[in-house]
Amino acid sequence: MAALFEVRGLVAGYGGARILDGVDLDVEAGGITCLLGRNGTGKTTTLKALMGLLPAAAGSVRLDGQELAGLAAHRIARAGIGWVPQGRSIFAGFSVEENLAIGGLGHGARLDDGLMERFPVLAERRRQDASTLSGGEQQQLAIARALVGRPRLLLLDEPTEGIQPSLVDRLAVTLAVIARQDGIGLLLVEQNLDLALGLADRVLVMEKGRIELVVEAAGLADALPALEARLSI
């Protein structure tokens, strides 16, 4: 059976520099694929290219069989890909509610109560300027904002960055629920190895713009030394 999301031979870069040199990866519906790697290996570039924020020079990106490579970012979003960017990119000066509404604008979707029940902090602060939220709350907002458009796949770039350690576990639970209960596929870029290993059912290690190591959940224990060797600085 084909995976929900299939990427084959993705090539992209800035100007003349080729950052991604043929990336292959799969994400299943309800699955969590975690992309690891040292700084500067092309993880964020991969997500940007998949979202269409950086043009793909070559390769194929399929969601449920629909080819997305080469489309404008808003078309890729509307096809069912949710975006939770690095640094969260909350719309400052807009209320929490407006931020959530923005997530649904291009999809003709409105905010529903079920989503708000899942993020009680956001429900409490609906009218507050989103830039006054704490880092953890902003991260919840970024995730909720992406869910308003009812995506089939979420791209998340370092969601635990800048969040106090006590909240990281709760964030992990939120992500697990989104994948296992809602059946949304997650492609997660993460520096936090423990979180990645605890959450993912597939771990990819990136080096120099390529996926150099693929480990399925069942083989994680055996592959740990190899993983740590590749990620050590």
């Binding site: 924020l53 975006w83 807009f94 509404a101």
Partner: protein
């Protein structure tokens, strides 16, 4: 004395609202897209000539009031697709290119209609008695149109989903795109809307002015000053700037002379821009 004061304030309010009416489209385009549209005055001109053509063909002012903004909005759409879209993020280039467009439009108008000035009729020639002084009702009509445009813009940008999408796109274009918002489509729409506002202002103001190929300039300069003084990028800024620039110019012109008034307004604008580079409203927002 009381009547004089009321009339002076009414004149000032009239001038203020006329400036805001002209500046609104300019503001929408600059605030939303960071394009300084030097051709705004010529889009205003096209609105006035639309009225001239419609009246020449026997149509009414009210028909022109609908057709003018529509036609100028379509011209704006065409300009966006052909020229403006290549200029995003290039403020200086946008000044040069839109200045070129302004020459092109003005010369085309001269080729078509000739350089002479013409007169168009107001839809009604009523004079109201205000504290014993006659005041043209058409000026009150202009004030009403301007207020309606201001309220409509606030409603559009702050109360509708389209406005939310437009504001999100200005705030963070890439993220807005990744949320599924068609930022290119919004660019086209916003520029066309700004042009349509210029066209509307042209139709409405034409009966008060002589319609000639240079008519755009008289209101364009105070409109630019109003935007810079109030704070570019904020709807509230253009309203505040319009009040400061238009109000002081009109009142000083009354107690001194129009030439002194222009000097005072320019001096005031330079002072505000020097001391508050983000404008009156912009400065307030940033300190919040």
């Amino acid at each position: 004395m009381g009547a004089d004061l009321v009339l002076a304030l009414l004149d000032a309010a009239n001038f203020v609202l006329a400036i805001i009416l002209v500046a609104m489209g300019l503001m929408v385009v600059f605030g939303m897209m960071r394009i300084i549209n030097m051709a705004h005055g010529e889009l205003f001109l096209l609105g006035a000539y639309a009225l001239l053509v419609v009246q020449g063909l026997g149509g009414s002012f009210w028909l022109a009031l609908v057709l003018g903004p529509l036609v100028v909005g379509l011209v704006g759409l065409l300009l966006e697709v052909l020229v403006i879209r290549h200029l995003y993020g290039r403020v200086l280039d946008s000044i040069l290119a839109t200045w070129g467009l302004s020459l092109l439009i003005r010369q085309t108008v001269i080729l078509w209609f000739g350089p002479q000035s013409r007169v168009v009729a107001a839809p009604f020639d009523l004079r109201l008695d205000i504290l014993g002084q006659p005041f043209p009702a058409y000026r009150l009509f202009i004030m009403g149109v301007s207020l309606a445009v201001i309220l409509f813009c606030f409603w559009l940008f702050h109360r509708t989903r389209l406005g939310l999408a437009a504001r999100a796109t200005i705030a963070d274009r890439a993220t807005a795109e990744a949320m599924g918002i068609d930022s290119r489509g919004l660019d086209r729409l916003t520029f066309a809307f700004g042009a349509a506002l210029a066209g509307l202002a042209g139709v409405v103001m034409a009966p008060l002015l002589s319609v000639d190929p240079q008519m755009g300039l008289g209101f364009l300069i105070p409109a630019f000053l109003a935007i810079l003084t109030g704070g570019a990028g904020e709807l509230m800024g253009v309203v505040t700037g319009g009040v400061v620039v238009g109000g002081s110019q009109s009142l000083v012109a009354r107690v001194a002379s129009p030439a002194v008034a222009e000097l005072v307004v320019l001096g005031l604008a330079i002072l505000v821009i020097r001391l508050l580079p983000n404008g009156l409203v912009g400065q307030f927002r940033r300190r919040r």
